[in-house]
Symmetry: C2
Subunit: 470 residues, 2 copies
């Protein structure tokens, strides 16, 4: 009898079955919360190889952990510590299979890095809008498996909305060729959207057909100083009216989050840092011209100042200035890490309820934990906040996390539930939140999810214990 690893070597070639040496790039999540141990890391080069690997593992009763760039936030793409799971890493499958300019679509393999997808679209004179901090290393397969969000969702939607078709190897090792360049196709159940966001628990995405858009003629960035979250919500509404579909980004950042950028990266210039409780970053993409975009922006900001919503504002004069503004926004997580360990939340709430959610939750946390510091920033245009909690100044951060993390999570997530929100807006469930899901998801939804998992993966081969308990 041939061992499973020998079978895997026969399928993908011995150099692509890793069992020895430092495998931490595959076994550990990038935030270093989990260090698992794999039976093997398998790196197939084609859909046929993926299918054969799945069949071999299923026959051996060995479960698989699909993995892209291993940049996930919820420990959904690393193996457990049993040493009995196979990591199925898709990074060798990185071909751009084709770009159909007239159809405004492209078909790419799952292991294609997001930035490579963006660049291939750009080279064809088109635009792929998905954009997020990890774009230099995350893969499109991982983006789809987790339904990634990012900074352009207010205009273009999540990864889900940018995908027209999938190629998937299911838990039986069969290949479903659902690649399609169709914008309308009502021939049965929406399998595509079932695999998108399922985090590899129902099958492995091996390729996708993506929607492309015309390149904007110009994208301008503005920064506005705002007095309250309620005013930020009113400014968002005004931005929708003035900019229409030109509104491609609307980020909000609290004063304390911005003060950490100033503190840890003093070379960065944070506009209106001292006097303003909130900063808002707005992006206006225009299909006409930069001049038109600028005129639109000026009208919006004048109207917002007249309405008393914006106390001060600046529009980037050139691309370098725009990059500086975005760089401030993107430096918040790093500045936060410099400040010390913290408790992260990736939540969403209906936009209309965000001001009340923040007021009430801020007050609750401050009452419960003296001196607690709140790092609040995120994609207000989508109702998605990274509502993070930092230990009191000068305190012992590891001790704070040990003692307070569960309690803080409970307070924040209960508040999210009270306000009709989600405990995972864009990061997914993985293994990190799998214990919490049953407390916050409807029992009817959970039982339908379990029925679907049981129907499509009865042997629990695909990424067991993620999203749903095994």
């Amino acid at each position: 009898m041939t061992s499973l690893t020998d079978q895997l070597r026969a399928i993908v070639g011995a150099p692509h079955v890793l069992t020895e040496g430092d495998l931490s790039a595959y076994e550990q999540d990038w935030r270093k919360r989990v260090h698992g141990k794999a039976l093997a890391v398998v790196r197939p080069a084609s859909t046929q190889e993926v299918a054969a690997v799945v069949r071999a593992c299923a026959a051996a009763g060995t479960s698989l952990v699909p993995q892209g760039g291993n940049t996930g936030m919820v420990c959904g793409g690393v193996p457990d510590t049993s040493g009995r799971q196979v990591v199925l890493n898709l990074q060798r499958m990185k071909a751009v299979r084709g770009i159909d300019r007239d159809n405004m679509t492209m078909t790419v393999e799952a292991g294609c890095v997001l930035q490579a997808v963006q660049e291939a679209a750009d080279a064809a004179g088109l635009f792929f809008p998905l954009s997020l901090a990890a774009e230099g290393s995350c893969t499109i397969g991982g983006n789809l498996a987790t339904n990634a969000g990012g900074t352009q969702v207010v205009r273009y939607g999540n990864a889900r909305e940018l995908c027209l078709g999938l190629e998937v190897v299911n838990a039986q090792g069969e290949t479903w060729d659902g690649l399609s360049g169709l914008r309308k196709d009502n021939t049965g159940y929406d399998l595509r959207d079932l695999f998108i966001g399922a985090e590899g628990t129902l099958g492995v995405i091996t390729a996708a057909t993506l929607k492309l858009y015309p390149k904007p003629a110009a994208a301008l960035t503005a920064w506005a100083a705002i007095g309250s979250m309620a005013d930020a919500v009113r400014l968002l509404e005004m931005a929708h009216l003035h900019l229409g579909a030109g509104l491609t980004g609307f980020e909000v950042m609290g004063q304390f989050a911005l003060s950490l950028v100033t503190k840890h990266f003093p070379q960065q210039r944070v506009p209106f840092a001292a006097e303003s409780p909130w900063g808002v970053l707005i992006e206006n993409s225009d299909h006409e011209s930069e001049a038109h975009a600028r005129a639109q922006f000026e009208q919006l900001l004048e109207a917002a100042m007249e309405a008393g919503l914006v106390t001060d504002a600046v529009v980037a004069e050139n691309i370098a200035q725009a990059h500086q503004l975005w760089h401030v926004r993107e430096s918040i997580p790093l500045a936060q890490a410099q400040e010390g360990l913290n408790i992260k939340h990736d939540i969403s709430v209906p936009i209309s309820r965000i001001p009340a959610f923040c007021d009430e939750t801020d007050a609750l946390l401050r009452r419960e934990i003296a001196g607690v510091r709140l790092v609040n920033f995120g994609h207000l245009g989508d109702g998605n906040l990274h509502y993070n909690v930092q230990a009191p100044e000068g305190g012992d951060a590891p001790k704070f996390l040990r003692e307070q993390e569960a309690r803080v999570n409970g307070i924040v997530h209960d508040q999210v539930a009270k306000f009709g929100g989600s405990i995972s807006a864009e990061h997914g469930i993985g293994s990190l939140k799998v214990d919490k899901l049953p407390h916050y998801k409807s029992p009817v939804a959970l039982s339908m999810m379990r029925a679907i998992k049981g129907a499509l993966d009865p042997e629990n081969v695909m990424n067991p214990g993620r999203v749903l308990h095994g």
Copy 2:
């Protein structure tokens, strides 16, 4: 033992259980292709009543046919002829449960007529973009169950893309409250999109939370004369570049289709009817002003004329003229019906392949059936054509249908498959295409669909025999 109809009367009240008299409004599809016979037509007034009806029917082993406005094209919402199915008509559930202006969402019950949804959004100063010919009588529940398309898909997507959350009564009679105003929520499998487009075979949609948009400041309509389908595709590409997200409609109409409008509705004025092989209707919605929309349109049409794509064009001067142009487009199906019975296809193909598809399929049909007349029109912006086949002039249309329908369907659908298209772009499968689906859908997809149906509706209570064979 109480009979099922008595139980149903106890649940919804005797006046809302119809068993006698002329029930053809519920038992017959509006195109009068199928006349079924129901055990009873039940008209619940609340989600609780729907759930109780489903439980009673499931316990009695009686299957249910969910029904909205009964305007479907594929006989998916009328009972079979057995007299043993219960029609579950949702029209009494028509409340607008709420509009959240700051969140740009509204929550409506399934029986709400699409036009009432549009009007409620408008009254709140916002815009719900789903629009189709039956909007005065179809319901939003039916629109979602069939993932309706219509004329604004090029900008706003299908019904699927306009829905954030659902309330569903599943086949066990449990209520899933998945109503949600969240634009980002990655907490498990995408049940919402599974029920959308499932045509009532997995559960009954009872309410939905819908996305709203800012009202456009102006919507202008243009009509262009075009020499070929290939030029229409190039004009579409140019329209995307010039109008950006302002491009909200792009319809193409063949000369023969338009000649039927002139023939049967001579009071209508069809622009450039005599000299032009194709007419294209373009809608440009602008968030700034009518003047800006007009300037954009003029630039587009001038550029298209310079490029030799458009031989002549007119932009509507006012709303009345715009309505006239749209009215020509919307009169094609009626004119076609006046001309006599015909064989309809609701197909999609990648936009880039539409010219070759039409050339090849036209030639094939003309070679196979002497004198056949092709009525080709549709939503080119989405790659969706209503590619219809009319009997030869002066021929016996009923005889033509009897003798040729299966053959013509086979030719057209085989061509669709060859060009990577869909045999049902926006109408669904229902019972009309349930026999055809296995020929054109991947066996792997079908087996996953069957597994899902078996998992969520093991007793086959919900709309059996639709989408999948029972």
